[in-house]
Each structure stands twice: as structure tokens, then as C-alpha cells.
Symmetry: C4
Subunit: 230 residues, 4 copies
């Protein structure tokens, strides 16, 4: 098996930096109330080698440190780290192998996003911030058992059908989000829960006013292409 | 382009003070759960010059400091600041130019206020605190695309129809609130979310008992004119 | 007008202690999410004189200190304190004058309790903790305008009909709670919101199983008379 | 009556350690919003003697320390501690005496779990995390009065019918959870509230897609037997 010593100095320096980024982004999952106990995981793919840094399995949030993060190759083999990687590692790997522009993946069971996932209903696009971030509704993906890359397959298959959405709600399970780095994927996870909660509350009042598709497209185009600093 | 050096010493002193006020009021948006990630923005107009201080675009809340706030003129031209101003700057400017008594503007996507906005329904006046703060129902404003002053126009047009309300819920978007300074506008944003949540919960139980208009008027008159210290 | 100097040394010592208690109990209102911005107020009646200590009007929670609390007589005249007392002072006074066993009063606009208040419906007794704390349903009191002792009258009138309940939900307004001291009244305010939220959520699932009155009575008797240390 | 001095040095050392564990786990009840005021209690059974460590009755969370925890034998007699043990002590004892593999018990009134308990409806299994943790639906147990071991009997009777579930929702009362130690039982309490909230929200959208029993069994088997590090 490979170890970090088999990689370049540049890669070892990137690992050090990405361990810090990934560990600290787990605090954002807590801050925005996206996780309970040990649920949820963040990973980031490296730029300098086919490796990723991911949360260890089953460790409580108060014990997460840069050093406890696990480095894996994109087949899920551990390259560096004392603990086992998250039980969702195979799915993170599958996403990175099949979506070459993705460098960050996040999975949570955040409450309202997961509620939509349990009903099998896409979140309708009724908020300008959904036009901005998701370019339309937030899709539900297929039901898949945990523990193999089957979930990753379902995520990729669904996101290919909804190319503007950085989020998919895996049926009966919870949201996966992607981004150009781990921070973007965490932002998408926070926005997914927020729009899930807001549209849920609006549905309770008797239903939302949908936004016309042409306006959704204008919102998304401006946000993704013009609003550079977000 | 003008820079701060073109303004009086008095204005430069006011800018320094208002940068601190506006930066610290963003903490209140977090404290009262009105924002997620980088959403939400606060501005305050200056007393000594036609300038305002507003949040920079897309910066995470933990990185906001007085120095990162942006100073603009009332057409949105940056006069001082390293970052771009909030993407809602044009709307803040429009409000200040058309409502000369307003010196504070806040925009959020707070959950329950935005849920009402997604349904297009005004929040009915069923709470004495709504009589106090809003003088009646909280109105929904028109649907407008993001990025120009069209939103500001919709805000002003709606508030002119509801002159006692410091809040308008822009349809499919979220609340804008105004005040005699930024703190008053932040207070109105917090109250808007609170009454949106409370009346929403009451509606779920089968509907509210409305407050008669004459009692709403008495509440509002006492609160705005007698209860000086609020 | 009387000042603190007109009172005994013992009373001046009690005032000092009760200022600290009342100031610190306002932190509990925040901790249990019972208040937004400056809403909510706590008072405690003194044992050694017909005085009470109450929150000043309109001061943000981060600025509340023992020194900022206001000392009033039971007609609401300020005896010591730099700020005006809470705008609910007349109602606190009315309660103390008409319920001689009450030494603590709390008022909030906590979300779910206020939602029930907006519907005019008592909270049905469907939780053992309601049997314990409230001895039955939590009653709604009459609609009253703010600013006179009319609210206090409505509180007392309702609590006399529900002698086991330390809480009344004033219609379209929010909860008032009482206790043998301010801490007991704050506890009742926290429990009121908790049972309001829980029974609300249960109603959304299709309705609660009521607890038979004889079991409510057994719960209440044990809790109030046996479970001494609560 | 026995005192700690009657026990071995090994047991006295274990008591010291378990006092710290149990006190600190009460912070987790607060962190995950499972309790209000003094509600909720955690206990852990010792390995070296038929004793348990449990929260004192009626003490506010900010005053809980290892030293304030109470040591009881499994009939509820106090062996060490200045305060009375939790009023739920008899039920904790009953569970330990009748479920010899259980070394941790937690009781809360967490909002959404208690809402389901007030309706008498089991939480349907519609989430993969429910398959993992509960092996199916979360059951409601019988209505029982507080203060004797009757609640403990109801807990044990229900858990024997649902042997994969670490949680039971006592009707009109709230959840009890068990585990191989107090931390496992606290984890189960946090997960119970999370799935109660999520499935509740999904029901509001019109109902959940149930997970087929064979898939629930596969999820539970993998989680309990393969996923060692959780």
C-alpha cells in the first residue's frame, strides 16, 4: 500500500493544508445545524495528486482535528491516518472519479432536506436564492443502500440530469452536495437545508408561487457568471 | 471617482463610527438566526454626507470587520473599501434616495418571513407586537429580479402603501426592513422573522383571531409615540 | 417621591441581591429562546418591603446589568434606577397587589406559546409534564390593550379560574407566568414554551391522546407536594 | 445503609470516573437541544459493582458537576451523594435489573419525540439512519404515572417487543433510551429526536415513502455488525 512518503513534497504540503480546511469546515456543519452527533462528512480532493482528505468514521465533532482527518486515494484506500475513513468514503470516491470538476463533497442528514428526501418529492423552485444556487428545483435521487459506491452512482446519475444543481437529496437518506472545493460544497449543504426549510414552511401555508423558468435562468446566469465574489 | 479624502473630517469620523456600527449589527443577524452563510446585509446612511456604509459581497460572517465594510455614494459608486459592496447595493441606494427619513436598511432571507414571501400572502395582524411594530399586516411586495434597483423600487412602492410598516416581504425573495438607523432596521428584521414564525405556527392550529383595526391603531400610536425608550 | 434611602438597611441589602437575581434570570430567557431583541421581562417582589425589581424598558439584553434594573413600589413608582421600568410594569404591579403569594412574574412573546395565544385556544393537557407543572391545560386569557394594568387584571382573573396553572396566554399577545420567586416564574415561562411547542407538533400529526383528569390530578399532587427538590 | 466505603478500591475508582462521564454527558443533552430547564437525566451502571451514577433531582444544568452526581444501588438506595437522585431513579433501576446488557439509560422530554409520544403513534421507518440505529420504527410504550418503577416496566416491556430499538417513546411522556454505556444511550436520545423531527416534517408534506423491511434489515445488520467504529 502507498503511504504519504510515496508522494511529492508538494502533495504532502497540500495534504497538510487540506487537513486543516476539511477539519475546520466540519465546524460549519455544526454552526448551521446540519448534523447531529457524528453524522455528516466533508471531503476535499487534492489538486496535486489523486487523493482526498475526509472525516474519520464515528468520531464526535469535538474530537475532530486536522490530524484526525484521513487521506485516501480515489478508490478509498487509506494513504494516511490513524482511524478508518467515513463509511461514506466509497461514494465520495465515486463522485470524484466520475465528475472531474468536483473537488469538494459533503453529506449530511440535515432535518428539512432529509424530510423532503423521505417523501421522494423534489423541492420546487420558489425562491430567488434557489434560482441563484440551484438553477431550479432541488432533485431527489434514487433509494440506495449504504456501504458501497451505489450511493455515489445515484448521486452522479441524478446530478447529470440536473446539471445546475450542486445538491441531490438521496431518497430516504439525505443530501449530498458538490463544489469546486470543500467550502463550496459546505455552502451548498447549508443553502440546501435553508431552502428545504423555507419551502417546507411555505407549503404548510397552502403552497408556493412558482418562479417562471425564464426568470430562474436569468437569476442563475447572473449569480454563477456575474456575481463573482460570492 | 471620489475617495474619502474628498470628504470633510467630520464625515471621515462618521464613516469610522458607522463602519463599527454596521459591522457589529451583522452579529445581530447571526444571533437572531436571520441569515445563513453569507446571506443578508445591513447598511446605514451617513448624516454628514450622501454616503452609506454596507457589507461587502460574499464574505463569511466570521471575517466581517469594520475595515471590510464598504463606503458607497447613493448611486452605489464605491468611495472607500477593498471589496465589492453587497450585490443588493443598488436597492439600498434606491431606498435611501426615495425615502429621505430612512437611514438604515436590512435585507435577509430569514426562514419564516421568506416562507410567507414565497406564498405571496401578507402576514395577518394577529399579535399585539405586530400592532406595535408594524401597525397592521406585514405586506408582500412584487416579484423582482436581483441585481438592479428594481428590487428597491418594489420595496419603496410597497412601503408607501403601508406607511406604518418598516418591513416588506419581496415575493419569492425575502424581507427588506428600514429604520431611522441601521439598528432600528435590524430590530425590524428580527421582529419580522419572529411574527412570521409565530403567526405561521398559529395558522397551522387552524387560524388566528384577527385584532380589530381600531385596536391595532391604538397599539401602534402608543408604541410609536408614547413608549419612547424602545 | 420615596428613594431607596427611605428604606431600611435590610431592604437596601435585599434590593442589591434581587437586582443580581433578576438581571441574571434575563440570561435564562435568552438561553431558552424565549425572547427576541428587547422583548420579555422578569420581576421579583421583595420580602422586606412593598417593592419590586424589574427590567428597564427597551434595553438590549447584552446591556442588562444588576445596576440597570429598576426598583419600583407596587404602584409602579420608580424608587431607584436610571432608566424607565418595563412598559409592562403596571401589570406586574397589579399581579403582586392581587396575588399575595406571588413573588415573581415573567412576560415573554415566546413563539409557540404566543401562537396558541393568537388562536384563542387553551393548550390541551396531553403531557405528563403538563400535569406536573400546570395541573391541566394552559389557559388563554382575554384580549387586552397594552400600557395600563388591564393586562394584569386579565392575568389575575384567568389564573383564579385555573388555580394550578402558573401560566396564562394573553390572547393575541403572549404568556405571563408567576411563581414563588422570579426563578420559579422563569422556569414556568420555559416550560410553557416547551409544552406549547410539543403539543403544537403533536396536533400537526393528527391530534393528541388526552390524559384523564384523575391522572392529571395524581401527577400534579405528586409533583407539587412530594417532589420537593424541583 | 451502605456507603462508598463499603465498596472496593476498584469500585471507588470507577465511581470517580463514571461521575465525570455522566456529568459531562448532560452537556450533550443541552448541546443537542434535548432538554429544558432541569428536565432530562442520564445514568450509567458500573462494571465492578451493582451501582449506578445518576443526575441529582431538580438541579439546573449550569450547576451539574461530577461531585453533584448521585450514586445509588440498583434498588435506588443512595450510596453516595449530597442531593436526592432524579425522580426517575426507580425506572432507571428497573431497566438495569431487567436488561443485564444495558449499562446506560437516558430520559428526556425532547420536543418532537415527545410530540409523537403524545399521539400514541410509532415513528414510521422512512430514513436509512432509522434502519441503522433503530432497525425499524421507533415504538410508543404504555401510559404510566411518574414516581414508581411502573415507567421502567413499560420501557422494558416495549423494548422486548422491539429488540433492535434502543428507544421507546412513553405515551404522553417522552423518550427513554438505552445503550452499552451512557454515551451510547445519549447518542440514541439525540438520534431519536432527530428522526422524530425529520419524519414529522416529512409527514407534513403528505407522507413518507416507507423503506421495505428487507432493506431495513440489511441496513441494521451492516451498521450494528460491520460499521465498527461508530
Amino acid at each position: 500500500m502507498a503511504t504519504l512518503a510515496d508522494y511529492s513534497e508538494e502533495t504532502r504540503a497540500e495534504v497538510k493544508q487540506v487537513r486543516e480546511i476539511v477539519a475546520s469546515l466540519h465546524d460549519q456543519l455544526l454552526k448551521w445545524n446540519l448534523v447531529v452527533w457524528t453524522a455528516g462528512n466533508v471531503s476535499q480532493r487534492l489538486k496535486t495528486a489523486d487523493l482526498m482528505v475526509i472525516k474519520p468514521s464515528g468520531l464526535r465533532y469535538e474530537y475532530l482535528t486536522p490530524a484526525s482527518m484521513v487521506v485516501c486515494d480515489l478508490d478509498g484506500n487509506v494513504v494516511d491516518g490513524a482511524a478508518s475513513p467515513s463509511s461514506d468514503t466509497a461514494s465520495h470516491c465515486y463522485i470524484y472519479r466520475h465528475m472531474p470538476d468536483v473537488y469538494g463533497v459533503v453529506h449530511t442528514h440535515s432535518t428539512y432536506a432529509t424530510a423532503w428526501a423521505a417523501t421522494g418529492k423534489n423541492i420546487p423552485c420558489a425562491l430567488t436564492m434557489m434560482g441563484d444556487e440551484f438553477g431550479g428545483e432541488v432533485p431527489v435521487g434514487p433509494f440506495r443502500l449504504i456501504g458501497s459506491e451505489a450511493i455515489g452512482e445515484g448521486v452522479v446519475e441524478t446530478l447529470k440530469k440536473y446539471p445546475k444543481s450542486p445538491a441531490v437529496l438521496m431518497q430516504n437518506h439525505g443530501p449530498f452536495t458538490i463544489g469546486k472545493d470543500a467550502e463550496s460544497a459546505v455552502k451548498a449543504a447549508a443553502m440546501t437545508e435553508e431552502v428545504a426549510h423555507t419551502v417546507w414552511a411555505a407549503q404548510m401555508l397552502g403552497g408556493v408561487i412558482p418562479i417562471p423558468q425564464q426568470d430562474i435562468d436569468k437569476l442563475n446566469d447572473r449569480y454563477q457568471n456575474v456575481y463573482g465574489q460570492h
